[in-house]
Amino acid sequence: MKALAITALLLISFNAFSAEIKLHDPKLNEPAPNFVEQNSYGVYVQLSDFIGQPVILEWTNHECPYVARHYSKKNMQAVQKAAQKKGFIWLSIISSTPGDQGHVSGDQANELTMSRNASPTHVLLDESGKIGMQYGAKTTPHMFMIDATGVLRYKGAIDDIGQGMKFFDASFNDSVNYISTQLDAVLKNSELEISNTVAYGCSVKYDY
């Protein structure tokens, strides 16, 4: 009995350890992995709450220069509003570990939302990085679109500007936004024309 308990403990700790460094890569056009996390008001939110509505996940870190430019140019807010107008749920997820860049308390998160005039449905505080690793979030921003039936339809970059310093001079109006241009397609619960791109930006500040 004791041996069993120790083995179980070892297994659990081993699992916990391996989960810490492993980024998963969720499959497109299959059910998106479910998760539960506290939002900025301390309320637990889970993905399966939103079955029947399409969902957008946005990995964010307000101190990352890429994210900062998307917000200061009002680009992210515009995409957010366009999506919500069509009935999308918008979840901003912060996977920065405590003490690292971009980590915020619930109050700070709400303040950021106010000051940036943003309108996420929820801001999720993924301090452990669990959701981030479940979805293989590599950069901020990193975007995911899930249709109303809970199927993952898009993973990748927010637009086609891409990494490199040209981003900081690029015009958002001249770029192709993979999210706002494909909202209607997600509403149809079918495969997207562009469903998998390479996300660009700062690395997600996981705990390692």
Partner: protein, 647 residues
């Protein structure tokens, strides 16, 4: 006053040249290795001295980050090339992996200048992303006065260590693993491959190193995809980097079956207007005109019969291609013209049709269904065979869109080959299908009359011209002796036709028999000295490895894949490739012009064509230093298109 002062002090600062600019987490400066004022080419370098723990990125930054941007301001007599990236290092940031540079690094840019130009100030706006665990975009305005700058030893060192040498690698993807095999040029203990393209493998993957034999090593990495077309990057052995660049064997074409079918339909339709098909098609149109606007059912039946002849032949060609391919041989579009026997028979057919048109013999009815009388079964078989004939004579022609579609078809499994050829046939027969559906459209054409007779006779000449051209092809494929034999056969054919037209009774049959016997006698004695494949290559300097050789030597080139029987190729020779202005352009720009002649079967050329997703000629391939990979020029060329394509 204050403004002037500020401007002045700014000028002073920028004139102080090599003084490093503090950007926040790095010191940036411009350096050069220019030694004396007579040097035509030298390097400029951006030196970035980063604080400890901070890094910037390679051209592929890995999972996050991004490469720098450099915008130069310089006089017109100086050309600054793209950066030559030093060998990067791995900068792990679990669970991510990034590629870049730490500490003190120089990014070298090659510079060319007009020899008699003055050395002056070169300025640069350099913006870059610098990261530790957080990232900050920083930038600097850098200046260097080339007339006073001292050569930098560190830049020399950086240039010496640039990953310039190509390493011979053999890369394969199997069992979800990328295997990179290479010959080690020297002893080493650690190896790492930095890919230039994204999506080949997860950057955090462990790269396993195995020794195969003495000098051969293999890196295996779990692959993200099994469809890798080209493959390039830097292989790092300890601290020295080597260039790796490969086009993997038989790449899967990126075209979809759907777009290939659309291309085939379009290509087939345009094929109607190609010079080798036009006369035959015109005859068919004439026969429709002759039927007049009265008998719609008859027009419909004839049109449908013609269409079925076309489709039958296309499917026959497709089946033959599939069959030959299944036996392992490499072939392509127009392959039937690579056999001199078939070219000979085609010559006789063309010549024969020409004679029949000129002499107004009634038997013409049977062959091309010209004439408005008679509803005999013969008439319909005539329509059918005109369809067959139209496709057969079309084979030396490639219309726009067709090359890509057929190239795709031939690299696909059989079930995809047939629909594409079918689509080609439907496109080709499109106008007649339309006619079958709406026979009343025929009344839009001019009324039948005496003009038809004249036009019909006139069409004899394009047919004869085609025969002449085929004779030339035949001669290139065989020899002058064989050509004479073919001409003798043509004479026999002419006599036969004359006899059929002139005599009515036993004399006709006796005469015909004699002619046929004589003809067979000659034919079996043709000393067809087929050109030996090995030695017969008149390919001026073309060989399989030519492209990679020239690229290595930084020699720009234009390769013309052509064949004597390919009319489009010959037309392009006349309208562009053969012109003096084009020759001069090639010479002036030091572009090597190479002909790869596919008149006779040549497996190596067929393989090279398939590398470009093509199965036939023409194909024009162009490359010049600075281009990542060679580029395919349009199939139908004009002087302007060609020269623009090479700029």
């Amino acid at each position: 006053m204050r403004n002037t002062l500020i401007t002045f002090s700014f000028l002073l600062c920028s004139l102080a040249t090599a003084a490093p600019v503090n950007t926040g987490h790095a010191e940036a400066s411009l350096v050069t290795n220019l030694q004396d004022t007579q040097q035509e080419s030298f390097y400029l370098g951006v030196r970035l001295k980063m604080k400890e723990g901070w890094h910037t990125y390679w051209e592929n930054p890995g999972d996050s980050g991004g490469a720098f941007e450099a915008s130069w301001v310089q006089n017109e007599d100086i050309i600054i090339e793209n950066v030559e990236w030093p060998t990067p290092v791995t900068i792990p940031y679990p669970p991510l992996m990034t590629y870049g540079y730490e500490g003190d690094v120089i990014f070298p840019f090659k510079v060319f200048r007009a020899i008699d130009s003055d050395l002056s100030i070169v300025s640069l706006k350099f913006s870059f992303l610098i990261c530790s665990d957080i990232c900050i975009p920083e930038e600097a305005e850098l200046n260097i006065d080339l007339s006073t700058a001292k050569p930098s030893l560190m830049l020399e060192q950086t240039i010496k260590n640039l990953p310039i040498d190509f390493l011979d690698t053999k890369t394969s993807v199997s069992d979800e693993t990328i295997k990179i095999q290479f010959q080690a040029p020297k002893m080493f203990s650690e190896a790492y491959f930095f890919p230039r393209e994204d999506g080949l493998f997860t950057y955090t993957s462990v790269q396993d190193l195995n020794q195969i034999d003495n000098q051969t090593f293999e890196i295996s990495i779990p692959a993200l995809t099994s469809e890798i077309e080209s493959f390039s990057g830097i292989l790092r052995l300890d601290s020295q980097g080597y260039q790796v660049k490969e086009a993997l064997e038989i790449s899967t074409p990126t075209m979809s079956l759907f777009s290939a079918i659309i291309f085939a339909l379009l290509g087939g339709l345009i094929l109607n207007l190609m010079p080798c098909v036009f006369p035959v098609i015109s005859l068919k149109v004439l026969s429709f005109v002759a039927m007049g606007g009265n008998d719609h059912a008859k027009i419909r039946n004839h049109a449908l019969t013609f269409v079925s002849g076309v489709l039958f032949t296309f499917l026959l060609i497709a089946s033959t291609l599939i069959f030959i391919r299944s036996s392992g041989a490499m072939i392509g579009w127009g392959f039937q013209l690579q056999s001199p026997e078939i070219v000979g028979v085609l010559t006789l057919i063309m010549f024969g049709i020409g004679l029949i048109l000129l002499t107004d013999i009634n038997m013409a009815k049977g062959l091309t269904s010209i004439g408005s009388n008679a509803q005999s079964r013969n008439d319909y078989s005539g329509s059918f065979f005109t369809g067959v004939l139209a496709v057969v004579v079309a084979s030396p022609c490639t219309a726009p869109f067709m090359g890509a579609a057929i190239g795709y078809a031939l690299l696909q499994p059989s079930f995809a080959t047939l629909p594409i050829f079918l689509a080609l046939g439907i496109g080709f027969a499109g106008p007649y299908l339309a006619l079958a559906l709406k026979p009343q459209w025929i009344s839009a054409l001019p009324k039948p009359g005496a003009w038809m007779e004249t036009l019909k006779q006139f069409f004899a000449f394009p047919m004869m011209a085609t025969a002449l051209w085929l004779m030339w092809v035949f001669m290139l494929q065989t020899s002058g002796d064989a050509l004479i034999q073919l001409l003798v056969l043509s004479l026999a054919l002419a006599i036969s036709i004359w006899m059929i037209a002139t005599f009515n009774n036993a004399i006709k049959w006796i005469g015909l028999t004699l002619t046929v016997v004589a003809g067979i006698q000659f034919f079996t004695n043709i000393p067809v000295t087929q050109i030996n494949l090995e030695q017969g290559t008149t390919n001026s300097g073309w060989n399989v490895s030519l492209e990679s050789d020239l690229q290595e030597k930084n020699q720009a080139y234009l390769i013309n894949f052509t064949a004597a029987w390919c009319i489009t190729c010959q037309a392009n020779e006349k309208t562009s490739l053969g012109r003096a202005s084009v020759k001069k352009y090639l010479e002036d720009n030091n572009i090597r012009y190479i002909k790869a002649d596919w008149t006779n079967r040549d497996e190596n050329i067929t393989k090279s064509l398939s590398k470009y997703g093509r199965s036939g000629v023409p194909l024009y391939v162009f490359w010049k230093p600075g281009m990542q990979s060679s580029k395919i020029l349009p199939a139908v060329l004009t002087e302007a298109i060609l020269i623009r394509g090479m700029q």
